[in-house]
């Protein structure tokens, strides 16, 4: 049996992150760690050590799917791990991230008012007002609502993929994984 390290327990962070955001939406800002760290590893180190070792989501999916056995382990269709879908999904995902920044800018400039909702799949608005007490600038809260929406949407997609396909099925088309692999491939040339 492999020796356990401190980083084998990072899956707890996933649960903690969504719990904290349920209590206070401002904790959603911590989701930026999941954007910055993988990029830092790829740009500075030229590796995917974040995906390979430290990704809390990957670990949670493996824990639920593999260790607890919730995964049906169906084979994923080839298009789902193909380059067209991976890059297309990455562009879409980062366009949605850009949209969060744009909405934040609209709120900060006063052109739009704060939306105290968590939006799932860019469509379904869930009331989330209890998690915001109004003691920060509206734009700060808007970014938190937006980022939490993106994180929760992708987590649900990842969990659904884990249940039907293999445990870490999400990793086959994870936008951050595609981006960091692209960075590594450029660095490798």
């Amino acid at each position: 049996m492999k020796q356990k390290h401190w980083y084998n327990y990072l899956w707890i962070w996933s649960i903690l992150y969504f719990s904290l955001g349920f209590a206070n939406i401002l904790f959603a800002w911590l989701g930026l760690i999941s954007f910055c760290l993988p990029l830092l590893f790829a740009i500075v180190g030229g590796n995917k050590l974040f995906c390979n070792r430290y990704c809390d989501r990957g670990q949670l999916l493996r824990f639920l799917g593999s260790q607890l056995g919730f995964s049906k382990r169906h084979d994923m269709p080839a298009w789902m791990y193909g380059k067209a879908f991976r890059y297309g999904f990455m562009v879409f995902f980062f366009a949605m991230f850009g949209n969060i920044i744009y909405t934040t800018w609209l709120v900060s400039s006063g052109a739009a008012s704060l939306q105290e909702f968590v939006t799932l799949f860019w469509t379904f608005q869930l009331p989330w007002h209890w998690a915001y007490s109004g003691n920060v600038a509206p734009a700060t809260a808007q970014f938190a609502f937006g980022l939490y929406s993106l994180m929760l949407t992708s987590e649900i997609m990842a969990l659904a993929a884990m249940l039907y396909y293999r445990p870490r099925a999400w990793c086959a088309f994870c936008p951050m994984g595609t981006l960091t692999q692209g960075v590594c491939q450029i660095k490798c040339k």
Binding site: N52, C174, Q181
Partner: protein
């Protein structure tokens, strides 16, 4: 002639997520500079754990004679 089983990973399809790396009991898999997973055939015993865990299911265990 002895028949051996070895894992084979197609580089062009690999997302280098490291799922295979995590489960390999022999430490036979490494990620080449974040680009793809590669198998050290001198260590691989063809157990198939990596093939079972690969999210895309692209790892084949081949019989080599």
């Amino acid at each position: 002639m002895a028949v051996k089983r070895k894992a084979r990973i197609p580089q062009e399809k690999c997302a280098s997520c490291g799922s295979c790396l995590e489960v390999c009991p022999r430490g036979a898999i490494s990620i080449f500079h974040g680009c793809y997973a590669q198998v050290d055939t001198s260590l691989c015993v063809g157990c198939g754990l990596c093939s079972r865990e690969c999210p895309a299911g692209i790892i084949q265990v081949e019989v080599i004679s």
